[in-house]
Symmetry: C2
Subunit: 254 residues, 2 copies
DNA sequence: CGAGGGTTTGAAGTGCATCAAATAGTGTGG
DNA sequence: CCACACTATTTGATGCACTTCAAACCCTCG
Protein backbone atom coordinates (compact mmCIF):
# COMPACT_ATOMS: atom_id res chain seq x y z
CA UNK A 1 0.00 0.00 0.00
CA UNK A 2 0.91 3.61 0.02
CA UNK A 3 4.13 3.97 -1.81
CA UNK A 4 3.92 0.42 -3.05
CA UNK A 5 2.79 1.62 -6.45
CA UNK A 6 6.30 2.77 -7.15
CA UNK A 7 8.06 0.85 -9.87
CA UNK A 8 9.82 -2.06 -8.17
CA UNK A 9 13.45 -1.50 -7.43
CA UNK A 10 16.20 -4.05 -7.88
CA UNK A 11 16.63 -4.42 -4.18
CA UNK A 12 14.97 -3.45 -0.97
CA UNK A 13 17.56 -0.97 0.12
CA UNK A 14 17.00 1.32 -2.83
CA UNK A 15 13.32 1.37 -1.99
CA UNK A 16 14.25 2.18 1.57
CA UNK A 17 16.46 5.00 0.47
CA UNK A 18 13.57 6.50 -1.41
CA UNK A 19 11.25 6.19 1.54
CA UNK A 20 13.78 7.79 3.81
CA UNK A 21 14.22 10.61 1.34
CA UNK A 22 10.49 11.26 1.29
CA UNK A 23 10.32 11.11 5.04
CA UNK A 24 13.11 13.63 5.29
CA UNK A 25 11.35 15.87 2.78
CA UNK A 26 8.14 15.84 4.76
CA UNK A 27 9.90 16.47 8.02
CA UNK A 28 11.48 19.56 6.56
CA UNK A 29 8.16 21.16 5.71
CA UNK A 30 6.59 23.46 8.23
CA UNK A 31 3.41 21.43 8.02
CA UNK A 32 4.85 18.06 8.95
CA UNK A 33 7.81 19.09 11.02
CA UNK A 34 6.46 18.65 14.52
CA UNK A 35 4.34 15.57 14.11
CA UNK A 36 4.52 12.54 16.34
CA UNK A 37 6.09 9.58 14.53
CA UNK A 38 2.78 7.75 14.37
CA UNK A 39 1.03 10.60 12.67
CA UNK A 40 3.77 11.05 10.15
CA UNK A 41 3.52 7.33 9.42
CA UNK A 42 -0.17 7.72 8.57
CA UNK A 43 0.71 10.31 5.97
CA UNK A 44 3.56 8.21 4.64
CA UNK A 45 1.20 5.27 4.20
CA UNK A 46 -1.30 7.32 2.28
CA UNK A 47 1.32 8.99 0.10
CA UNK A 48 1.85 8.13 -3.52
CA UNK A 49 4.54 9.52 -5.74
CA UNK A 50 3.85 10.75 -9.18
CA UNK A 51 5.91 11.93 -12.08
CA UNK A 52 4.37 14.91 -13.87
CA UNK A 53 5.56 16.51 -17.06
CA UNK A 54 5.92 20.15 -17.92
CA UNK A 55 2.54 21.55 -18.87
CA UNK A 56 0.50 19.08 -16.85
CA UNK A 57 -2.47 20.66 -15.08
CA UNK A 58 -2.77 19.24 -11.58
CA UNK A 59 -6.04 20.85 -10.65
CA UNK A 60 -8.28 23.74 -11.55
CA UNK A 61 -9.72 26.58 -9.56
CA UNK A 62 -13.11 25.77 -8.00
CA UNK A 63 -12.61 22.06 -8.44
CA UNK A 64 -13.27 20.03 -5.30
CA UNK A 65 -9.97 19.28 -3.65
CA UNK A 66 -9.17 15.56 -3.67
CA UNK A 67 -5.44 15.75 -3.14
CA UNK A 68 -2.73 18.03 -1.95
CA UNK A 69 0.92 17.86 -2.91
CA UNK A 70 4.50 18.09 -1.76
CA UNK A 71 7.16 18.74 -4.38
CA UNK A 72 10.19 16.47 -4.52
CA UNK A 73 11.65 18.13 -7.58
CA UNK A 74 10.67 20.37 -10.47
CA UNK A 75 8.54 23.51 -10.49
CA UNK A 76 4.82 24.14 -10.14
CA UNK A 77 2.89 27.30 -10.91
CA UNK A 78 -0.19 28.43 -9.01
CA UNK A 79 -2.31 30.87 -10.97
CA UNK A 80 -5.78 32.23 -11.62
CA UNK A 81 -7.42 32.97 -14.92
CA UNK A 82 -9.94 35.71 -15.57
CA UNK A 83 -12.98 35.43 -17.80
CA UNK A 84 -11.28 37.42 -20.53
CA UNK A 85 -8.23 35.18 -20.47
CA UNK A 86 -5.69 37.11 -18.43
CA UNK A 87 -3.55 35.16 -16.03
CA UNK A 88 -2.43 36.15 -12.55
CA UNK A 89 0.45 34.08 -11.20
CA UNK A 90 0.06 33.62 -7.47
CA UNK A 91 3.25 31.72 -6.84
CA UNK A 92 5.83 29.38 -8.29
CA UNK A 93 6.98 26.54 -6.07
CA UNK A 94 9.69 23.92 -5.93
CA UNK A 95 11.29 21.20 -3.79
CA UNK A 96 9.88 21.03 -0.29
CA UNK A 97 6.88 23.24 -0.93
CA UNK A 98 3.38 22.08 -0.04
CA UNK A 99 0.41 23.23 -2.08
CA UNK A 100 -3.29 22.60 -2.56
CA UNK A 101 -3.74 22.21 1.16
CA UNK A 102 -5.48 25.48 1.92
CA UNK A 103 -8.80 24.64 0.36
CA UNK A 104 -9.57 22.11 3.05
CA UNK A 105 -10.68 24.65 5.60
CA UNK A 106 -13.17 26.55 3.53
CA UNK A 107 -15.52 25.09 1.02
CA UNK A 108 -13.08 22.40 -0.05
CA UNK A 109 -12.63 23.96 -3.48
CA UNK A 110 -9.24 24.88 -4.88
CA UNK A 111 -8.69 28.61 -5.03
CA UNK A 112 -6.10 28.50 -7.83
CA UNK A 113 -5.09 26.46 -10.82
CA UNK A 114 -1.91 24.43 -10.47
CA UNK A 115 0.31 23.57 -13.40
CA UNK A 116 3.69 21.87 -13.67
CA UNK A 117 6.10 24.24 -15.40
CA UNK A 118 9.25 22.11 -15.08
CA UNK A 119 9.08 18.29 -15.03
CA UNK A 120 8.32 17.36 -11.46
CA UNK A 121 8.18 14.54 -8.98
CA UNK A 122 5.30 14.99 -6.63
CA UNK A 123 4.13 13.39 -3.45
CA UNK A 124 0.38 13.12 -3.62
CA UNK A 125 -1.67 12.99 -0.44
CA UNK A 126 -5.43 12.72 -0.01
CA UNK A 127 -7.16 15.88 1.22
CA UNK A 128 -9.51 13.75 3.27
CA UNK A 129 -6.62 12.62 5.44
CA UNK A 130 -5.58 16.20 5.99
CA UNK A 131 -9.09 17.12 6.98
CA UNK A 132 -9.31 14.17 9.30
CA UNK A 133 -5.95 14.73 10.97
CA UNK A 134 -6.74 18.35 11.55
CA UNK A 135 -10.00 17.41 13.21
CA UNK A 136 -8.40 14.74 15.37
CA UNK A 137 -4.99 16.06 16.27
CA UNK A 138 -4.56 19.33 18.04
CA UNK A 139 -0.83 19.56 17.44
CA UNK A 140 -1.40 19.01 13.77
CA UNK A 141 -3.98 21.76 13.70
CA UNK A 142 -1.46 24.06 15.33
CA UNK A 143 1.12 23.19 12.71
CA UNK A 144 -1.41 23.91 10.04
CA UNK A 145 -2.16 27.23 11.69
CA UNK A 146 1.49 28.22 11.72
CA UNK A 147 1.85 27.29 8.07
CA UNK A 148 -1.25 29.23 7.13
CA UNK A 149 -0.12 32.24 9.07
CA UNK A 150 3.16 32.16 7.26
CA UNK A 151 1.44 31.97 3.89
CA UNK A 152 -0.74 34.87 4.79
CA UNK A 153 2.20 37.04 5.66
CA UNK A 154 3.77 36.08 2.40
CA UNK A 155 0.69 37.15 0.44
CA UNK A 156 0.57 40.48 2.20
CA UNK A 157 4.17 41.07 1.31
CA UNK A 158 3.46 40.30 -2.32
CA UNK A 159 0.62 42.78 -2.19
CA UNK A 160 2.93 45.45 -0.89
CA UNK A 161 5.51 44.73 -3.55
CA UNK A 162 3.00 45.05 -6.33
CA UNK A 163 1.75 48.41 -5.19
CA UNK A 164 5.00 49.96 -4.12
CA UNK A 165 7.91 48.60 -6.12
CA UNK A 166 8.88 49.45 -9.68
CA UNK A 167 9.58 46.67 -12.17
CA UNK A 168 13.37 46.77 -11.73
CA UNK A 169 12.96 46.80 -7.97
CA UNK A 170 10.70 43.77 -8.07
CA UNK A 171 13.38 41.94 -10.00
CA UNK A 172 16.01 43.08 -7.52
CA UNK A 173 13.86 41.80 -4.68
CA UNK A 174 13.44 38.50 -6.47
CA UNK A 175 17.20 38.14 -6.90
CA UNK A 176 17.89 39.02 -3.30
CA UNK A 177 15.57 36.26 -2.15
CA UNK A 178 17.70 33.84 -4.13
CA UNK A 179 20.81 35.01 -2.31
CA UNK A 180 20.03 33.02 0.79
CA UNK A 181 20.26 36.10 2.98
CA UNK A 182 23.93 36.49 2.47
CA UNK A 183 24.78 39.97 3.61
CA UNK A 184 27.98 40.98 1.91
CA UNK A 185 30.46 40.40 -0.85
CA UNK A 186 29.98 38.90 -4.27
CA UNK A 187 27.32 36.35 -5.12
CA UNK A 188 26.71 34.36 -8.26
CA UNK A 189 23.39 32.67 -8.80
CA UNK A 190 21.30 30.99 -11.46
CA UNK A 191 17.78 31.96 -12.36
CA UNK A 192 15.65 29.01 -11.35
CA UNK A 193 13.40 29.00 -14.41
CA UNK A 194 12.30 30.71 -17.58
CA UNK A 195 12.54 34.47 -17.74
CA UNK A 196 9.04 34.61 -19.16
CA UNK A 197 7.84 32.81 -16.07
CA UNK A 198 9.74 35.06 -13.72
CA UNK A 199 8.15 37.99 -15.50
CA UNK A 200 4.68 36.55 -14.94
CA UNK A 201 5.52 35.75 -11.34
CA UNK A 202 6.44 39.40 -10.84
CA UNK A 203 3.34 40.63 -12.61
CA UNK A 204 4.90 41.97 -15.77
CA UNK A 205 5.34 41.12 -19.46
CA UNK A 206 8.49 39.44 -20.81
CA UNK A 207 9.50 42.57 -22.71
CA UNK A 208 9.14 44.66 -19.60
CA UNK A 209 11.18 42.14 -17.69
CA UNK A 210 14.00 42.31 -20.18
CA UNK A 211 14.10 46.10 -20.14
CA UNK A 212 13.72 46.29 -16.39
CA UNK A 213 16.66 43.93 -16.01
CA UNK A 214 18.73 46.20 -18.21
CA UNK A 215 17.81 49.13 -16.03
CA UNK A 216 18.64 47.15 -12.90
CA UNK A 217 22.02 46.27 -14.39
CA UNK A 218 22.84 49.95 -14.76
CA UNK A 219 21.52 50.98 -11.38
CA UNK A 220 23.05 48.27 -9.25
CA UNK A 221 26.05 47.06 -11.20
CA UNK A 222 24.99 43.44 -11.50
CA UNK A 223 26.03 41.28 -14.42
CA UNK A 224 23.61 39.04 -16.30
CA UNK A 225 24.64 36.37 -18.81
CA UNK A 226 21.77 34.14 -19.82
CA UNK A 227 20.46 32.57 -16.65
CA UNK A 228 23.56 33.42 -14.64
CA UNK A 229 23.55 36.53 -12.51
CA UNK A 230 26.52 37.82 -10.59
CA UNK A 231 26.13 40.46 -7.97
CA UNK A 232 29.42 42.12 -7.08
CA UNK A 233 28.01 44.14 -4.22
CA UNK A 234 24.89 42.94 -2.46
CA UNK A 235 24.55 46.06 -0.38
CA UNK A 236 24.37 48.17 -3.50
CA UNK A 237 21.52 46.05 -4.82
CA UNK A 238 19.81 46.20 -1.45
CA UNK A 239 20.15 49.97 -1.48
CA UNK A 240 18.44 50.24 -4.81
CA UNK A 241 15.74 47.66 -4.15
CA UNK A 242 14.77 47.59 -0.52
CA UNK A 243 14.06 51.27 -0.04
CA UNK A 244 10.77 50.60 -1.75
CA UNK A 245 9.74 47.97 0.76
CA UNK A 246 8.78 47.92 4.39
CA UNK A 247 11.04 44.97 5.18
CA UNK A 248 14.71 45.36 5.88
CA UNK A 249 17.07 42.99 4.09
CA UNK A 250 17.58 40.13 4.74
CA UNK A 251 13.87 39.52 4.71
CA UNK A 252 13.58 36.11 6.23
CA UNK A 253 10.67 34.51 4.47
CA UNK A 254 9.75 32.01 1.88
CA UNK B 1 -13.01 43.42 35.93
CA UNK B 2 -13.09 43.08 32.22
CA UNK B 3 -15.57 45.53 30.91
CA UNK B 4 -15.82 47.18 34.31
CA UNK B 5 -13.64 50.04 33.15
CA UNK B 6 -16.52 51.37 31.14
CA UNK B 7 -17.92 54.65 32.37
CA UNK B 8 -20.64 53.77 34.84
CA UNK B 9 -24.12 53.79 33.43
CA UNK B 10 -27.20 55.17 35.11
CA UNK B 11 -28.61 51.75 35.67
CA UNK B 12 -27.63 48.14 35.44
CA UNK B 13 -29.76 47.37 32.46
CA UNK B 14 -27.97 49.75 30.18
CA UNK B 15 -24.71 48.10 31.12
CA UNK B 16 -26.32 44.78 30.37
CA UNK B 17 -27.47 46.00 27.01
CA UNK B 18 -23.95 46.91 26.14
CA UNK B 19 -22.60 43.56 27.26
CA UNK B 20 -25.21 41.76 25.24
CA UNK B 21 -24.36 43.85 22.24
CA UNK B 22 -20.69 42.99 22.55
CA UNK B 23 -21.52 39.34 23.00
CA UNK B 24 -23.63 39.43 19.86
CA UNK B 25 -20.84 41.15 17.98
CA UNK B 26 -18.30 38.50 18.96
CA UNK B 27 -20.65 35.68 18.12
CA UNK B 28 -21.07 37.06 14.65
CA UNK B 29 -17.36 36.92 13.89
CA UNK B 30 -16.00 33.83 12.26
CA UNK B 31 -13.41 33.57 14.99
CA UNK B 32 -15.76 33.44 17.95
CA UNK B 33 -18.85 31.98 16.36
CA UNK B 34 -18.56 28.34 17.35
CA UNK B 35 -17.16 28.66 20.84
CA UNK B 36 -18.58 26.94 23.86
CA UNK B 37 -20.28 29.41 26.21
CA UNK B 38 -17.55 29.06 28.81
CA UNK B 39 -14.82 29.93 26.37
CA UNK B 40 -16.65 32.92 25.08
CA UNK B 41 -17.08 34.06 28.66
CA UNK B 42 -13.32 33.98 29.16
CA UNK B 43 -12.90 36.35 26.29
CA UNK B 44 -15.72 38.57 27.50
CA UNK B 45 -14.06 38.83 30.89
CA UNK B 46 -10.76 39.85 29.41
CA UNK B 47 -12.29 42.33 26.99
CA UNK B 48 -12.06 46.06 27.44
CA UNK B 49 -13.73 48.62 25.27
CA UNK B 50 -11.93 51.66 24.03
CA UNK B 51 -12.88 54.77 22.18
CA UNK B 52 -10.31 55.77 19.56
CA UNK B 53 -10.26 58.94 17.50
CA UNK B 54 -9.55 59.38 13.84
CA UNK B 55 -5.81 59.37 13.30
CA UNK B 56 -4.97 57.24 16.31
CA UNK B 57 -2.26 54.67 15.68
CA UNK B 58 -3.18 51.39 17.36
CA UNK B 59 0.03 49.56 16.69
CA UNK B 60 3.02 49.55 14.40
CA UNK B 61 4.52 46.93 12.16
CA UNK B 62 7.14 44.75 13.90
CA UNK B 63 5.93 45.77 17.32
CA UNK B 64 5.31 42.84 19.67
CA UNK B 65 1.61 42.10 19.66
CA UNK B 66 0.02 42.75 23.03
CA UNK B 67 -3.58 43.07 21.95
CA UNK B 68 -5.91 42.25 19.16
CA UNK B 69 -9.13 44.03 18.32
CA UNK B 70 -12.74 43.70 17.28
CA UNK B 71 -14.43 46.76 15.81
CA UNK B 72 -17.78 47.87 17.22
CA UNK B 73 -18.00 50.94 15.04
CA UNK B 74 -15.85 53.23 12.93
CA UNK B 75 -13.11 52.37 10.46
CA UNK B 76 -9.56 51.12 10.82
CA UNK B 77 -6.84 51.03 8.20
CA UNK B 78 -4.15 48.34 8.00
CA UNK B 79 -1.13 49.47 6.07
CA UNK B 80 2.61 49.14 5.58
CA UNK B 81 5.13 51.85 5.05
CA UNK B 82 8.30 51.58 2.99
CA UNK B 83 11.65 53.09 3.87
CA UNK B 84 11.17 55.84 1.33
CA UNK B 85 7.78 56.76 2.73
CA UNK B 86 5.32 55.11 0.37
CA UNK B 87 2.26 53.53 1.89
CA UNK B 88 0.57 50.29 0.88
CA UNK B 89 -2.93 49.91 2.25
CA UNK B 90 -3.61 46.27 3.02
CA UNK B 91 -7.21 46.62 4.11
CA UNK B 92 -9.80 48.91 5.62
CA UNK B 93 -12.08 47.37 8.22
CA UNK B 94 -15.27 48.17 10.08
CA UNK B 95 -17.93 46.81 12.43
CA UNK B 96 -17.50 43.13 13.18
CA UNK B 97 -14.02 42.79 11.78
CA UNK B 98 -11.22 41.28 13.83
CA UNK B 99 -7.65 42.43 13.34
CA UNK B 100 -4.19 42.13 14.84
CA UNK B 101 -4.78 38.48 15.61
CA UNK B 102 -2.60 36.95 12.93
CA UNK B 103 0.73 37.81 14.46
CA UNK B 104 0.18 35.36 17.28
CA UNK B 105 1.18 32.30 15.29
CA UNK B 106 4.48 33.51 13.97
CA UNK B 107 6.99 35.58 15.77
CA UNK B 108 4.35 37.53 17.68
CA UNK B 109 5.14 40.73 15.83
CA UNK B 110 2.51 42.74 14.00
CA UNK B 111 2.88 42.55 10.25
CA UNK B 112 1.10 45.85 9.52
CA UNK B 113 0.45 49.23 11.02
CA UNK B 114 -3.09 49.86 12.22
CA UNK B 115 -4.63 53.32 12.28
CA UNK B 116 -8.12 54.56 13.05
CA UNK B 117 -9.43 56.47 10.05
CA UNK B 118 -12.95 57.13 11.32
CA UNK B 119 -13.70 57.54 15.05
CA UNK B 120 -14.07 54.03 16.38
CA UNK B 121 -15.21 51.96 19.29
CA UNK B 122 -12.98 48.98 19.74
CA UNK B 123 -13.05 45.84 21.80
CA UNK B 124 -9.53 45.20 23.00
CA UNK B 125 -8.43 41.67 23.85
CA UNK B 126 -5.06 40.42 25.08
CA UNK B 127 -3.04 38.45 22.56
CA UNK B 128 -1.82 36.20 25.34
CA UNK B 129 -5.36 34.92 25.86
CA UNK B 130 -5.65 34.17 22.18
CA UNK B 131 -2.38 32.29 22.23
CA UNK B 132 -3.44 30.38 25.30
CA UNK B 133 -6.89 29.45 24.03
CA UNK B 134 -5.46 28.25 20.78
CA UNK B 135 -3.03 26.03 22.62
CA UNK B 136 -5.67 24.66 24.93
CA UNK B 137 -8.82 24.38 22.87
CA UNK B 138 -8.90 22.34 19.74
CA UNK B 139 -12.21 23.73 18.54
CA UNK B 140 -10.89 27.22 18.96
CA UNK B 141 -7.81 26.36 16.95
CA UNK B 142 -10.07 25.06 14.21
CA UNK B 143 -12.04 28.30 14.22
CA UNK B 144 -8.82 30.20 13.97
CA UNK B 145 -7.78 28.01 11.08
CA UNK B 146 -10.99 28.69 9.21
CA UNK B 147 -10.63 32.42 9.78
CA UNK B 148 -7.03 32.38 8.63
CA UNK B 149 -7.91 30.37 5.57
CA UNK B 150 -10.56 32.89 4.71
CA UNK B 151 -8.14 35.78 5.08
CA UNK B 152 -5.66 34.04 2.89
CA UNK B 153 -8.15 33.59 0.13
CA UNK B 154 -9.03 37.24 0.44
CA UNK B 155 -5.40 38.30 0.05
CA UNK B 156 -4.98 36.14 -3.01
CA UNK B 157 -8.01 37.75 -4.53
CA UNK B 158 -6.61 41.20 -3.88
CA UNK B 159 -3.42 40.12 -5.55
CA UNK B 160 -5.31 39.04 -8.61
CA UNK B 161 -7.24 42.29 -8.74
CA UNK B 162 -4.11 44.38 -8.62
CA UNK B 163 -2.46 42.55 -11.50
CA UNK B 164 -5.46 42.04 -13.71
CA UNK B 165 -8.02 44.80 -13.27
CA UNK B 166 -7.84 48.36 -14.57
CA UNK B 167 -8.46 51.28 -12.24
CA UNK B 168 -12.14 51.71 -13.24
CA UNK B 169 -12.69 47.97 -12.90
CA UNK B 170 -11.19 47.95 -9.43
CA UNK B 171 -13.64 50.66 -8.46
CA UNK B 172 -16.50 48.73 -10.01
CA UNK B 173 -15.47 45.67 -8.05
CA UNK B 174 -15.34 47.73 -4.88
CA UNK B 175 -18.85 49.05 -5.48
CA UNK B 176 -20.23 45.62 -6.25
CA UNK B 177 -18.94 44.34 -2.94
CA UNK B 178 -20.97 47.05 -1.26
CA UNK B 179 -24.11 45.86 -3.03
CA UNK B 180 -24.62 42.96 -0.67
CA UNK B 181 -24.67 40.50 -3.56
CA UNK B 182 -27.93 41.77 -4.87
CA UNK B 183 -28.23 40.41 -8.36
CA UNK B 184 -30.59 42.64 -10.26
CA UNK B 185 -32.36 45.96 -10.50
CA UNK B 186 -31.37 49.36 -9.19
CA UNK B 187 -29.23 49.89 -6.12
CA UNK B 188 -28.30 53.06 -4.29
CA UNK B 189 -25.42 53.04 -1.88
CA UNK B 190 -23.13 55.34 0.05
CA UNK B 191 -19.38 55.27 -0.07
CA UNK B 192 -18.29 54.20 3.38
CA UNK B 193 -15.40 56.64 3.72
CA UNK B 194 -13.18 59.22 2.13
CA UNK B 195 -12.55 58.95 -1.59
CA UNK B 196 -8.86 59.51 -0.95
CA UNK B 197 -8.91 56.50 1.30
CA UNK B 198 -10.79 54.34 -1.17
CA UNK B 199 -8.19 55.32 -3.73
CA UNK B 200 -5.39 54.16 -1.46
CA UNK B 201 -7.26 50.98 -0.63
CA UNK B 202 -7.46 50.23 -4.35
CA UNK B 203 -3.82 51.07 -4.90
CA UNK B 204 -4.18 54.33 -6.81
CA UNK B 205 -3.85 58.09 -6.38
CA UNK B 206 -6.86 60.31 -5.58
CA UNK B 207 -6.67 61.96 -9.00
CA UNK B 208 -6.63 58.62 -10.71
CA UNK B 209 -9.59 57.56 -8.63
CA UNK B 210 -11.56 60.60 -9.66
CA UNK B 211 -10.84 60.10 -13.34
CA UNK B 212 -11.39 56.36 -13.18
CA UNK B 213 -14.77 56.97 -11.59
CA UNK B 214 -15.67 59.28 -14.46
CA UNK B 215 -14.72 56.58 -16.90
CA UNK B 216 -16.71 53.99 -14.97
CA UNK B 217 -19.71 56.33 -15.07
CA UNK B 218 -19.59 56.40 -18.83
CA UNK B 219 -18.94 52.71 -19.27
CA UNK B 220 -21.52 51.35 -16.88
CA UNK B 221 -24.13 54.06 -16.60
CA UNK B 222 -23.84 54.57 -12.86
CA UNK B 223 -24.57 57.91 -11.25
CA UNK B 224 -22.30 59.48 -8.62
CA UNK B 225 -23.23 62.49 -6.52
CA UNK B 226 -20.77 63.12 -3.73
CA UNK B 227 -20.68 59.97 -1.66
CA UNK B 228 -23.92 58.62 -3.10
CA UNK B 229 -23.77 56.14 -5.92
CA UNK B 230 -26.76 54.78 -7.76
CA UNK B 231 -26.47 51.82 -10.01
CA UNK B 232 -29.42 51.51 -12.36
CA UNK B 233 -28.36 48.15 -13.75
CA UNK B 234 -26.13 45.91 -11.71
CA UNK B 235 -25.66 43.41 -14.49
CA UNK B 236 -24.25 46.11 -16.70
CA UNK B 237 -21.70 47.00 -14.04
CA UNK B 238 -20.90 43.33 -13.53
CA UNK B 239 -20.40 42.94 -17.25
CA UNK B 240 -17.88 45.75 -17.33
CA UNK B 241 -16.07 44.83 -14.14
CA UNK B 242 -16.09 41.11 -13.58
CA UNK B 243 -14.72 40.00 -16.90
CA UNK B 244 -11.34 40.98 -15.59
CA UNK B 245 -11.58 38.66 -12.61
CA UNK B 246 -11.60 34.94 -12.08
CA UNK B 247 -14.59 35.09 -9.74
CA UNK B 248 -18.14 35.21 -10.97
CA UNK B 249 -20.42 37.79 -9.38
CA UNK B 250 -21.69 37.63 -6.69
CA UNK B 251 -18.30 36.89 -5.21
CA UNK B 252 -19.17 35.79 -1.74
CA UNK B 253 -16.33 37.04 0.39
CA UNK B 254 -15.38 39.62 2.89
C1' DC C 1 -18.34 84.93 4.97
C1' DG C 2 -14.00 82.90 4.74
C1' DA C 3 -10.64 79.06 5.84
C1' DG C 4 -9.50 74.59 5.00
C1' DG C 5 -10.12 70.16 3.63
C1' DG C 6 -11.58 67.03 0.05
C1' DT C 7 -12.40 66.60 -4.89
C1' DT C 8 -12.05 67.55 -9.69
C1' DT C 9 -9.68 69.19 -13.88
C1' DG C 10 -5.81 70.30 -16.96
C1' DA C 11 -1.20 69.69 -18.88
C1' DA C 12 2.82 67.14 -19.07
C1' DG C 13 5.72 63.20 -17.76
C1' DT C 14 6.83 58.26 -16.67
C1' DG C 15 6.29 53.49 -16.81
C1' DC C 16 4.56 49.59 -18.57
C1' DA C 17 2.11 47.25 -22.48
C1' DT C 18 1.65 46.19 -27.26
C1' DC C 19 2.98 45.08 -31.82
C1' DA C 20 6.52 43.96 -34.86
C1' DA C 21 10.89 42.45 -35.95
C1' DA C 22 15.63 41.09 -35.05
C1' DT C 23 18.73 38.16 -32.44
C1' DA C 24 20.40 34.54 -29.40
C1' DG C 25 19.92 29.79 -27.73
C1' DT C 26 18.47 25.08 -27.84
C1' DG C 27 17.69 20.71 -29.52
C1' DT C 28 16.98 17.97 -33.71
C1' DG C 29 18.20 15.15 -37.54
C1' DG C 30 21.38 14.74 -41.10
C1' DC D 1 29.75 19.02 -36.43
C1' DC D 2 26.56 21.66 -39.10
C1' DA D 3 22.11 23.33 -40.71
C1' DC D 4 17.50 23.90 -39.56
C1' DA D 5 13.45 24.68 -36.85
C1' DC D 6 11.71 26.38 -32.91
C1' DT D 7 11.63 28.93 -28.79
C1' DA D 8 13.34 32.35 -25.62
C1' DT D 9 15.02 36.86 -25.31
C1' DT D 10 16.06 41.39 -26.77
C1' DT D 11 15.22 45.74 -29.22
C1' DG D 12 12.58 49.45 -31.45
C1' DA D 13 8.52 52.26 -32.13
C1' DT D 14 4.30 53.60 -30.47
C1' DG D 15 0.22 53.90 -27.45
C1' DC D 16 -2.30 53.81 -23.19
C1' DA D 17 -2.69 54.09 -18.15
C1' DC D 18 -1.49 55.95 -14.24
C1' DT D 19 1.18 59.65 -11.91
C1' DT D 20 2.75 64.26 -10.94
C1' DC D 21 2.33 69.03 -10.34
C1' DA D 22 -0.54 72.87 -10.39
C1' DA D 23 -4.69 75.17 -10.11
C1' DA D 24 -9.60 75.52 -9.70
C1' DC D 25 -13.73 74.15 -7.53
C1' DC D 26 -16.77 72.71 -3.95
C1' DC D 27 -18.42 71.79 0.50
C1' DT D 28 -18.57 72.09 5.23
C1' DC D 29 -17.97 74.27 9.45
C1' DG D 30 -16.60 77.73 12.48
Amino acid sequence: MGLSDLPLEHNESQQDVRLREIMRLLKNTQLFSHLEPGELADFMDAAKTRQAEKGKILYLQNEPSEFFYVIRSGWVKLFRETLDGEEAVIDILTTGHVFGETSVFEDGLHSCNAQVVEDAQLIVLPSSLLREKTQVSHTFALNMLAAMSHHRRHSIEELEHLTVQSAPQRIGCFLLRLCNSQEEGEVTLHLPYDKTLIAARLGMKPETFSRALTRLRQESDIDVKGATVSIPDIQRLVGYTCNACSNAYPCKDL
